[in-house]
């Protein structure tokens, strides 16, 4: 019986991890012989932990600044509208070695910045961010919304920053 439990519990955990969204933060420093740090965060566990963990006062007392309050509904509408925009390059800027491109692709807004050796790629899941903005504009501010949004986000790389030989990648699988 104990042996069965010892086998089944890790298997069940592994199955849960494999079938649920997992955020993977990968940091690489210092070229080929540098340091690698990979932190997998199962989002279902993160959400469960955040749901039962009492938030510190600083988080519970978070409020939208009054100057931002009137713009949140506008941001929400902008994001809602953006979801319906066909795929296209919305903005591109080139100046010397610097390049910035913002484009709509599927459900996401992709931002790419290049400046010499620095590269930044960010994928913003429009629908998920719209949900967060909607909740925040109703005064509902909690870190679990961020995790919830990540669980809704299309799988793949969300952030990739490369600065010389250093790299940071954040993905959701």
């Amino acid at each position: 019986m104990k042996l069965t439990a010892l086998i089944l519990v890790p298997l069940a955990l592994a199955a849960t991890l494999m079938t649920s969204h997992c955020m993977i933060v990968s940091v690489h420093e210092g070229g080929a012989d540098g340091t690698n740090i990979v932190v997998p965060v199962p989002l279902v566990f993160a959400q469960a932990v955040l749901a039962v963990t009492p938030m510190p006062d600083e988080v519970r007392e978070l409020r939208v600044p009054p100057e931002a309050e009137r713009w949140l509904p506008v941001a929400g509408r902008l994001l809602e509208h953006l979801e319906g925009v066909p795929d296209a390059v919305l903005v591109s800027v080139e100046e010397g070695d610097e390049r910035v491109m913002v484009r709509k692709a599927g459900d996401s807004l992709l931002v790419d910045v290049e400046d010499g050796d620095e590269r930044v790629h960010v994928r913003v899941p429009v629908g998920a961010v719209a949900d967060i903005v909607d909740k925040v504009s109703r005064g509902d501010i909690h870190p679990r919304h961020l995790v919830s949004a990540l669980r809704q986000a299309p799988r793949g790389r969300l952030v990739h920053v490369r600065d010389g030989q250093d790299e940071v990648k954040i993905s959701v699988y």
Partner: protein, 201 residues
């Protein structure tokens, strides 16, 4: 630095215009931003190794821009309230004066309505068919050409009193205007703003 400031200013202005212009589609749903919908394009090119900026936005997004304008105390229900616009020797000039002047000019048909020359600076406001043209040049390399369809001016002046109907003008712009609307050349810097039904430039 000046050119960059100019480019940034123009892009910012465009953003505001875009917001308003899509006001046309005040009732448009997100799904209406389809391939057949009009897009507004901005291209800023600085000479040499200068910046190249391209912006492509569906005009339907202008609806959201109107919301941003609504946050301004002078803007309400898509209309902006202006005070007196300037002074001349007979008193203040207001929107009502503009409305009256436009009525006369509109009836006059094609021709040069206003020509101002001051040294090398020259401003000409004219009408060719359905287009009102505003040309500004300073004798050096700076040239500005704004082409606005007559019906856009009509829509803008639809308001009452000292109001301009920005939402109405932008709606008309979205519905009817295709082609170049602004062209600016300042030395090696060029700015073009145009509307078509393609998402790319």
């Amino acid at each position: 630095m000046y050119r960059r400031t100019l480019a940034v200013s123009l892009i910012a202005s465009l953003a505001v215009v875009v917001v308003g212009a899509a006001g046309a589609s005040a009732s448009a749903s997100p799904a209406s931003a389809s391939q057949a919908s009009p897009w507004i394009h901005v291209r800023v090119t600085e000479g040499g190794d200068g910046a190249k900026v391209n912006v492509n936005l569906p005009l339907s997004m202008v609806d959201v821009a109107v919301d941003i304008l609504e946050a301004n105390e002078h803007f309400e229900h898509g209309r902006i309230r202006l005070g007196k616009l300037g002074h001349h020797r007979h008193g203040d000039i207001g929107v009502e004066d503009l409305r009256r002047a436009w009525k006369e000019l509109r009836a006059a048909g094609d021709g040069e309505f206003v020509t101002v020359e001051d040294g090398d600076d020259r401003v000409v406001v004219s009408r060719r068919g359905s287009i009102v043209r505003v040309e500004v040049s300073d004798g050096d390399d700076e040239q500005v050409l704004v082409e606005v369809p007559v019906e856009i001016v009509d829509a803008l002046l639809e308001g009452e009193g000292d109001e301009l109907d920005v939402r109405g003008a932008l709606q008309k712009l979205s519905e009817t205007t295709r082609g170049q609307i602004v062209s600016v050349r300042d030395g090696e810097t060029e700015v073009r703003v145009w509307i078509d039904e393609s998402a790319t430039q």
